[in-house]
Symmetry: C2
Subunit: 434 residues, 2 copies
């Protein structure tokens, strides 16, 4: 078998068989197939797609490149949530303790770092002083069983093939490929040993896949291939045509999550947290009325029980929870600059993708692999789609220690918001459960 022939086969639109997919991915992991041949193959997949059998084989080879977690307690419903990535998406920080607080499910959550214009749960957790996201798979399993939740990053021994493929896709513009996304997400989630997976599949100008029809196709594919591996999958398509909530940036998003966990916070963040956690609990107990689940979850937020659960997990993972209890102890950015609207009317469009990149420029994300993150840096959005705005009213606030970045962005970031004289009505729902 020659890598060249397999690249050519995919390039001409033919399906590879299981052995061929295994040969390519295993060869890439063992470095017998060079990065440039894998890059050419991934780009051919981007253009020509994969058939169902190929996607199964692709998930399989990534899954079997490392270890798998396996929980012994068959009476417990282990579940996780995954988001395809957006701007201001801090739902995992709320959902995990909220689900844990319900006692109905246990959440072994393995998260990733920021990617492209999109933030990562791991970077947000690590903005909490002392919070450690590294532990062995054994300890991860133990903590999940003992506490009901553990929040970690991908370990070396879990789907190492995905780690290598992901790094290559990230630099070769081959992230936005449905079969490759399926392989990457599902292999890791299957390896977690969970029973149920709630998927938050983002659509709109701040999502990796912006068109609704493509998003829906991705959601269906993720459900189909996940279920082929015995996972229960509940995809929810949610709107990413504006940042989720007000705050973008690691510590800023922790703050907003704490607000929601204590019964407050922006309505959109509370609502999506209730919907996604509700779906998780509904999967665990399909006979239970969804209205009951919702009431229970609202109570867990409003009573502070979900907040307590978050403190418990954070403490267990080494966090200095004084910062969570008293967020004003946390350092603030040197430059906190309000940018005002140059016109009046209704917010009719927000360039969400660009706001994600702007947050990175301010220090909230990495521009290259070895860049460091400024946990304080980010953006606070004051106006959302459909909001009225007066001339001179604040649109957004920049938080950064980087004077140059602040100077640059304070001039142009106002342009991410389109202000229209007409009234604005949202097209369609903010989310859709498939």
């Amino acid at each position: 078998m020659l890598p060249y022939t397999l690249i050519e086969k995919k390039q001409s639109g033919q399906a590879l068989n299981k052995d061929e997919i295994h040969f390519l991915v295993d060869g890439y992991v063992k470095k017998t197939i060079p990065e440039y041949q894998m890059a050419a193959f991934l780009m051919a997949v981007y253009f020509k797609g994969m058939e169902a059998e190929e996607i199964n084989a692709y998930i399989d080879v990534i899954l079997n490149s490392g270890k798998r977690v396996s929980f012994n307690d068959s009476t417990t419903y282990y579940a996780d949530k995954h988001s395809t990535g957006g701007v201001g998406d801090k739902i995992s920080l709320i959902l995990a303790p909220l689900a844990m607080a319900s006692g109905k499910v246990k959440v072994p959550m393995i998260s990733g770092r920021g990617l492209g214009h999109s933030g990562g749960t791991l970077d947000k957790l690590e903005s909490i002083p002392g919070f450690s996201t590294q532990m062995s798979l054994k300890d991860f399993q133990k903590q999940t069983d003992r506490l009901g939740c553990a929040l970690i990053g991908q370990t070396k021994d879990l789907c190492p093939a995905d780690k290598m493929l992901y790094a290559l896709r990230d630099v070769t513009a081959t992230v936005r490929s449905i079969p490759l996304i399926c392989g990457s997400i599902l292999s890791k989630k299957i390896a977690e040993g969970i029973k149920g997976l709630v998927l938050d599949v983002k659509t709109g100008n701040g999502a990796f896949i912006s068109k609704y029809e493509e998003t829906k196709h991705l959601a269906e594919q993720l459900k189909y291939f996940g279920e082929a591996y015995g996972l229960s999958v509940r995809p929810v398509i949610s709107d990413m045509n504006q940042p989720l909530g007000d705050k973008i940036g690691n510590w800023l998003e922790v703050e907003e999550s704490l607000d929601v966990l204590k019964g407050g916070g922006p309505a959109a963040v509370r609502e999506l947290s209730l919907v996604l956690t509700g779906q998780m609990l509904a999967m665990a107990d399909p006979k239970r009325a969804e209205g009951d689940i919702r009431k229970e979850l609202e109570k867990l937020l409003d009573s502070g029980a979900a907040y307590d659960a978050f403190l418990r997990v954070s403490k267990e993972q080494g966090a200095d929870i004084r910062y969570l209890e008293k967020t004003e102890l946390y350092d603030r950015s040197k430059y906190i600059i309000e940018v005002k609207s140059a016109s009046e009317g209704t917010i009719s469009y927000i360039d969400t993708y660009q706001l994600g990149l702007d947050a990175i420029v301010l220090g909230a994300g990495r521009r290259s692999l070895n860049d460091t993150i400024d946990p304080k840096a980010g953006l606070v959005v004051h106006k959302h789609l459909g909001d009225k705005v007066e001339k001179g009213e604040p649109l957004i606030t920049l938080h950064s220690d980087d004077k140059k970045a602040v100077e640059l962005l304070s001039k142009e970031i106002g342009d991410r918001f389109h202000v229209s004289e007409d009234n604005f009505t949202m097209k369609g729902d903010l989310y859709e459960i498939l």
Copy 2:
């Protein structure tokens, strides 16, 4: 400028501007852009093509990555021929001394090695004992002026970007891309300092681009972009649905070339040599009647003048010309095995591409970059398209020192020939001058 953004731009079908093309190719040459990003870009070009401005910029940056030859004598017509590659295509070995013998043009010819299923002029020349294809660009220029012809391989200082890009395309299945072929061929030919270029653009099942319409498009593009650089370009589309002539393999092809240079050899090889050399002389002197040119060239072959010219160039470049004068001095393969027809009828199809690969298996080409070539190895074809064949009559003879390869191929090589009960008529002409 980020390589990632440029890959994404091409992936979405947008044209890159001149600066962006230069940034990518220069970066790749200087190794600031890694092979995997270049591979992803090349695959995106394979799928999305390039616009005219992009192809110009691509030729330009490859051309300017190294030195250029520049002849001082403005009264001389310097010309070269290039073939897009086929099986049994030894025309350069005949055309160069034939054109030289005419005294009407001078031929500074820089050739390549075997590629994919196709042989290379350089490997054929090097099968002649002592023949050296390495010299400095200065000596190359001097010999061309003094003798009327020089036959060398690509030097380090001539289009180094092409050398690197070519090696990458060769292993990432991105050779068959019209803009990339244009960039590769034309940059090198422009760098040779010639005025006129005859192009033998192969079509059919043994060519890199098999479909006639695509071949014609390639021929037109090569003419268009070559002429944009002040080169006169005369493309000839020629048939590659069967090996050209009888012999495939390096020394075997030298032998057949000597036959043609002495007025004999297979009619198809003689004919295409006369056509292509004729076009070259017609470009040098457009007022001259083509019939006169043809008569002159026939005479140069039949009188032995072209043969003498080949001996002169070979001697000048270190060859032991006793082997050319007395080819029976040359070693023969250990195994020379005739394969016979299993049925009777008319040859209606020859899998030319596969015969090219078969010759490599016998030792006539490289299977990997560091493989060595057996100059004696190859194939002799006894039947061509439209020929009648009896059961048991020889179809092809294998020449090889590799017992295993001979055993394997002697069983299956007969299948490359389809024998039909119907009469066979060639579709269209064997060549077409554009």
